[in-house]
C-alpha cells in the first residue's frame, strides 16, 4: 500500500510516516511477519493434530478391561480424566477393587450419574456454537431421552430407582453480568414429558413464603420416596440447605451455608460443602445428622467443589483437581463421614463418581 499522500484542507508541512524505512520496506516486513505468523501457526496446528492422532493410534491406556466384566456387579461409574484420547469418557471400576483396572464406555460426559442401570449424562458439545445436552439412557446404543438443559452443565443426579433426574446448569450472561451467575435446576420425570423448574416452587423461609427474585437453586439429591429432595437455594447472597417436595411444589430452608447436598443411602444424614469463614470458592465438607441437627466437619483440608457421593453409609467420595499442571486430571478421594480419619485417594484420574450397589 502506498504511503504517498495528498495534503488536503489542512496544510501538512511534514507528512506523517509510520516509522523507519520506506513504505516498500515496511510492506515487505509486514508480509514477512504475516508469512511467519500464519505459517508458524498453521504448522503448529497441523503438527498438533498429527501428534494427537498418533497418540490415539498408539495409545496403550492404563489397565482397562471390557465393560462386560464390570457392569454386572456392584461398581463405581465415573468420568475418566486421564489425559489422552479417552479423556471425558464414562468409565467404571469394580466396587470391590476401586483402584483396579477400569472399563471405558464409548460415551463422553462432563458429569455422569448412574442409578441401577440408567445413566444420566450431561455434556457440552463444543462447536462453532457450543451447545449443552442432558441425556439419559439404559443402554448407550439403545433409545436415549433428552432432558432440558440450557447452560454449562454443573450437577446431575438420579433418584435411587432412576425414575427422577435432576440437572443443574450455569446460565451466565456476558461480561457485564459479571459475578451474578445464574443457575437453572430442573427435575424431570423419566419416561414422561413432565419436568419441574424449581424456581417456580413455593419457597418457605423461617415460616414465611418468600419470593426473592434473585433465588437460585442447585445440587438436588433425592430421597427414596421419589417425592422428597434436598437442594441448595441461594438468595440475598446467602446459601441455604433446603428440603422440598415435588407433590406440594414447596421448598423450605433448613440451615444456612450448605451447598450441593448429598443424602446418605439410609436417608439419615446429608453431606455438603460449606464456606464457613473462608473466602468465596474455598469450600470444606461437612455432614449433618438430620435427626439431631448436629454437624461435623470432615478432615479433608482442600477446597472441594463437588456434589459428593456416599461410598457406603460411613464414607463419602468426592473429586479434587490434580496437582499443578495436572489440574485437569482430577482424582476421586474418600473420607470417613464422621469427621475422623484421613482422606485417601480412591480412584486416580476420575471425576463425578456414582456408586451402583
Amino acid at each position: 500500500m502506498s504511503k504517498r499522500r495528498r495534503t488536503a484542507p489542512a496544510p501538512t508541512p511534514e507528512p506523517a510516516t509510520a516509522g523507519p524505512g520506506t513504505v516498500r520496506q515496511r510492506v515487505i516486513a509486514l508480509i514477512a511477519i504475516a508469512v511467519v505468523l500464519v505459517g508458524g501457526t498453521t504448522a503448529y496446528l497441523v503438527l498438533s493434530r498429527a501428534k494427537q492422532q498418533e497418540a490415539v493410534r498408539t495409545a496403550s491406556p492404563q489397565d482397562t478391561v471390557s465393560v462386560a466384566k464390570i457392569a454386572g456387579a456392584p461398581r463405581i461409574v465415573f468420568r475418566n480424566t486421564a489425559i489422552g484420547p479417552d479423556y471425558g469418557r464414562v468409565a467404571m471400576v469394580s466396587l470391590a477393587d476401586p483402584s483396579g483396572p477400569r472399563a471405558l464406555t464409548p460415551t463422553s460426559c462432563d458429569r455422569v450419574f448412574v442409578a441401577r442401570t440408567r445413566t444420566l449424562c450431561v455434556a457440552s458439545d463444543p462447536g462453532v456454537v457450543t451447545t449443552y445436552t442432558a441425556t439419559t439412557f439404559v443402554d448407550a446404543d439403545g433409545p436415549t431421552e433428552d432432558l432440558p438443559l440450557t447452560g454449562v452443565p454443573s450437577r446431575a443426579r438420579l433418584s435411587d430407582d432412576a425414575k427422577l433426574a435432576a440437572t443443574t446448569s450455569f446460565v451466565s450472561g456476558d461480561s457485564y453480568a459479571a459475578a451474578n451467575f445464574s443457575t437453572r435446576t430442573v427435575v424431570s420425570e423419566i419416561g414422561t414429558d413432565r419436568s419441574f423448574d424449581l424456581e417456580t416452587f413455593r419457597l418457605v423461609h423461617q415460616g414465611k413464603a418468600i419470593k426473592p427474585a434473585d433465588r437460585n437453586y442447585w445440587g438436588v439429591t433425592f430421597a427414596s420416596d421419589d417425592d422428597a429432595f434436598y437442594v441448595t437455594v441461594k438468595f440475598d447472597s446467602k446459601t441455604w440447605l433446603a428440603s422440598g417436595r415435588l407433590s406440594t411444589r414447596t421448598v423450605q430452608t433448613i440451615r444456612s451455608d450448605a451447598e450441593c447436598p448429598s443424602l446418605s443411602p439410609d436417608g439419615t444424614k446429608v453431606a455438603y460443602k460449606k464456606l464457613g469463614t473462608r473466602g468465596p470458592g474455598d469450600w470444606r465438607l461437612a455432614v449433618l445428622d438430620l435427626a439431631t441437627g448436629k454437624e461435623v466437619s470432615l478432615t479433608e483440608e482442600h477446597s472441594v467443589d463437588d456434589q459428593v457421593e456416599w461410598l457406603d453409609k460411613d464414607q463419602i467420595l468426592y473429586g479434587l483437581p490434580g496437582v499443578g499442571s495436572h489440574a485437569a486430571e482430577t482424582n476421586v478421594w474418600v473420607v470417613p463421614a464422621d469427621g475422623t480419619g484421613a482422606p485417601r485417594m480412591l480412584i486416580a484420574k476420575a471425576w463425578s463418581p456414582a456408586v451402583v450397589r
Partner: protein
Amino acid sequence: MYLSDRPRDAAGTETPSAAPTTGRRVGSTVILLGFVSLLTDISSESLSAVLPLYLTAVLGLSPLAYGFVDGLYQGVSALVRILGGWLSDRADRPKWVAFLGYGLSAVTKALLIPAQGLAAVTAVITVDRLGKGLRTAPRDAIIAASTPEHSLGRAFGVHRALDTTGAAIGPLMAFSILWWIPGNYRAVFIASLAAALLGLALLGLLVPDLRPRRAARRTAAPPVAPSWRSLAEPRFGRVVAASAVLGVLTISDGFLYLSLQQRDDFAGKWFPLLFVGTNVAYLTLAVPFGRLSDRLGRAKVLVGGHLLLVGAYLCAALPSGGLGLTIACLLLLGGFYACTDGVLAALASTLVPAPMRASGIATAQTVVALARLASSLLFGALWTGLGRSTAVYVVAGALVVGVAVAWWLLRHVDRSAHELVPA
C-alpha cells in the same frame, strides 16, 4: 491533516480524484486501523469464547470463579482509558500509545500459554484489559485526525464494523480449532497470539505516526498545549452529561439475554447465538448509521439510537414471545450499538481541540462505561425488588424520559459542531 480518502490500487498509483472533502470513501488509515482491530478482536474474542470451558474443564475451576475473573474486566478498563487518552495527547503520539496498548494485550496471550490456576489467569486477563483501556482513545484519535470532519460518522462506522467482524470471527476460529484438535487449548492460545501479533505489526509498520498537536500548531496561530481546561467547552460538557444520563439507563446485554432465555426456548438452547446475532446486526448497521449521523447530525443519531434500545427493552420484557421477538430484540440492540458507539467517538472528537482529542474521547467513553457499571448495580437491585419484567419496563420508561432530557441537552450541539469547522 488528512490522508487521501480515495483507495489506491496495488501498484500504489493514486486514482485521480475529486477533493477529499467530497470523497465517498474513508481514508486508508481508518481501514488499516479497522484491520488492526479486526485482528485484535479475533485474538481476544477467540480467548473469551473458550476461557469459561478452559477454566472449568482444564484448570478445574468452577464457573463461579470464572464470574469473578470476568468481573475484573470492567473496572480496570474504564480507569486506564483516561490515562491512555492523556498520555497520547501529552506525548502527541497517539500511534505509539495505542501500540503499547495493543502490545500489552499481545503479551498476555503469550503469558496465557503457561498460566496455571486462577491467580495466574486473573493476572493475565487484567493485563489484557489494561491494554484495551490504554489503546482505545488514542486509536479513535487517529481515526478522527485522519478523517474530514463531515465524514467522521462513516469513518467510525467502518472501523466499528471491521472491529465487530473480528469479534464474530474470533469464537468461530477458536471452536473450529477445538473441533479439529479436540481439547487442545494451547493451539487456540497460539492462534490467538499470532492474530494479535499480526495486528500489532500492521499497526506498527503501516499506520502513520500522526502528530495532531504539531499539525494544529502549524495551522492555528497560537500554540495549543493539552490541558484539561480545554475540555470545559460547554458543548462537550453537554455531550458528557447526556452520555451519563443515557448510560445509567442502559441495561447491560447480559441481563437482556437472561431475560430472553427465560422466556424463549430457542434463546435458552442457543444462548451463545444471541451474542452473534447482536454482533451481526451491529456490523451490518454500523456504516449506514454512521453515514446517517454525518447527514442528520451526530447528536440526533446518538440520542435517537437509544429509542432502538427502548424497543429492545420492550421486546425483552414482554411476558411471552417466540423466535421472531427474540430476533427483533437482537436487531434493535445491534442497531443501538451502531447508532451510539462509533457515533459518540465521532461527536466527542469534533467538540474538543485537536491536541486534546484522545483525552476528550476517553472522557466521554469512560463516563459511559462508569454509568453503565452503575446501571448494572441499579438494575440488579431493581430486578431483585420488582421482578424481571417490571424492572425492564421501569427502565424503559425512564429511558424515554432520559432520551428527552438528552435531546434537550444536545439540541444545539450538532449545529455548533459544524460551526467549529474552519471555513
